[in-house]
Symmetry: C2
Subunit: 331 residues, 2 copies
């Protein structure tokens, strides 16, 4: 049999298991030009929350009673496609199913001998590239500057801090537990870390951790932490708006202090992006990340949950910050 | 005698005449290396409101009981400086005084035969340059795109729309009266205009005036109009944060909907600036503006108030939108 995970209902606030439905389907047979794929590793990511909402965005929303999709590494079990053979591993946007057929369009082959398969969903995949293209294109870090990252122990944040260090910057991370803050400093080489859950005054804490002010803020969370950071930004600072996980589960329109007077006063830039905006840099970026990884300049953490049935819970756990680094489900 | 206008107290909310004090001083005598200047035209600008607040910004706040300063065109009445002679006209950041001495540093000579003296405070001065450097560097308008401007009939906004047209864009302006909207279309060549004071639903009005969405928003006002515009921005749109006049007189921290999720979702850029950030483009910009003016591609409006004593009221009137185009006081 072939299990699939469908969107049963659109979450109100934080997603719950009730929003998902397991369905049993037939194992499909590939037509000519198709491959049969067996899911090996499934990426769960905060941005999927956005696709569960019924609103226009850069990609269409998930449909009710249809399978959810995300980044997946799969094994080719049968091929009727000239470019793929049985035993190949591929990476692509695939459905939350144990088995599926695919036209091959948009699939990349990945090499298990070069890096563990799960790495292709993280450091060498879209999350590593998100850090790479966002920090370098929008953040434009210069030697001697200070790069502050929120969601710093997460899949994207931990790479941002390390690239900041490679570029000669002071890297400071904000995370949600003392253990994560320790990880930032001991494993990822950040210069300082802030546990926002035990910090009363974020503005002061950032001031303390960034004595020369903040030049680049890579924002994964939005909300109050963004506000506190803006107060510490230097003139001509750059905010890379990568995500706003603190707001994704709000059911009312979130409000906050108006930022536009601060942007004018300090000549600040705030710029949002999605990784696909920089598709033409993917090859260069992946090669650069692989080189840094190989030279030991880059390291990564992943939280691997086992079992296809655990995918929805692993996704839900992202919003409680239960992951360290990239959250991946091994099927 | 020599009248000066001092900041008597910091405004709470909208400035009032009580915040200003006239003082009678001696007419000064220039020392060696100095010039004696007689004020001819005084620029009053919304950004001066920011300097009346006692807070750190890109330029120090005005001090209580000290003269206010702004852009002024003055005549050299006596010169002990090699670079200036009696009868020269100069433009610079000068004090609100009828007479003052000056070291000459930062003063530019202006030519009355090329353009009226008041134009050097507007279209050929910092306001024209503000439109020029902000729109071109941050807005990056491309042929066929839509440029929306708030405060469109003002000194900066009217130039932004015209440069947008020169660059082959659709130019749409937001202003505060039907008469101003008529001016936008009839005098400045905007394609459409919106009177925000009589519009119930700004989001819909912008949608109607910008059928292909907004690619560049040059924002002079901030607040609700910014919010309504963001809903109409196209992917990869650019917001030029030039000012936030709708918020300058607020006494409480203004709040509004959080913008960061929209920035991420549409890959938008919002960037603040002040004209001095682009000082290296001033010469090129002034020459370009003068050329366009000369060729009839650019026109301007100014509101000239007469009399030194009227300077504070002219400044206050800016916040009621009593000016059309650049507000200047002729002394």
């Amino acid at each position: 049999m072939n299990k699939a995970i469908l969107l049963k209902s659109r979450p109100k606030g934080t997603p719950t298991l009730d929003n998902f439905e397991f369905s049993e389907q037939e194992k499909p047979t590939p037509a000519d030009g198709e491959v049969l794929l067996k899911t090996k590793y499934v990426s769960v990511d905060p941005y999927l929350r956005g696709r569960m909402r019924d609103e226009k965005s850069y990609i269409p929303p998930f449909q009710i009673d249809a399978p959810i999709e995300s980044g997946i590494v799969a094994e080719v079990m049968e091929s009727k496609h000239a470019d793929f053979k049985k035993g190949d591993y591929v990476n692509g946007m695939l459905q939350w199913k144990q088995w599926q057929t695919h036209s091959g369009k948009g699939l990349q082959k990945v090499d298990e001998t070069k890096a563990p398969l799960s790495a292709y969903l993280g450091i060498l995949g879209l999350t590593g590239l998100t850090a790479y293209v966002g920090l370098l294109n929008i953040g434009e870090p210069k030697e001697g500057e200070t790069v502050l990252v929120s969601g710093a122990s997460g899949a994207v944040g931990s790479v941002v801090g390390q690239i900041g260090k490679i570029k000669g910057c002071r890297a400071v991370g904000i995370a949600g537990s003392d253990e994560k803050v320790r990880l930032l400093k001991e494993k990822f080489g950040f210069d300082a870390g802030i546990n926002y859950k035990t910090t009363q005054n974020m503005k002061q804490a950032i001031e303390g951790a960034c004595p020369d002010g903040v030049d680049v803020y890579f924002d994964n969370v939005g909300g109050d932490i963004l506000d506190a950071t803006l107060k510490n930004m230097n003139r001509y600072g750059r905010v890379v708006n990568c995500g706003a996980i603190s707001l994704y589960n709000e059911t009312e329109q979130p409000t906050g202090p108006r930022l536009e007077p601060t942007l004018v006063k300090k000549s600040l830039k705030m710029q949002g992006f999605i990784v696909r905006d920089y598709q033409e840099q993917f090859q260069e970026g992946t090669e650069q990340l692989a080189t840094w990884l190989d030279k030991g300049k880059l390291t990564y953490e992943e939280t691997i949950v086992e079992g296809f049935d655990e995918i929805p819970q692993a996704f839900i756990d992202l919003f409680d910050g239960k992951n360290k680094g990239k959250m991946v489900v091994k099927v």
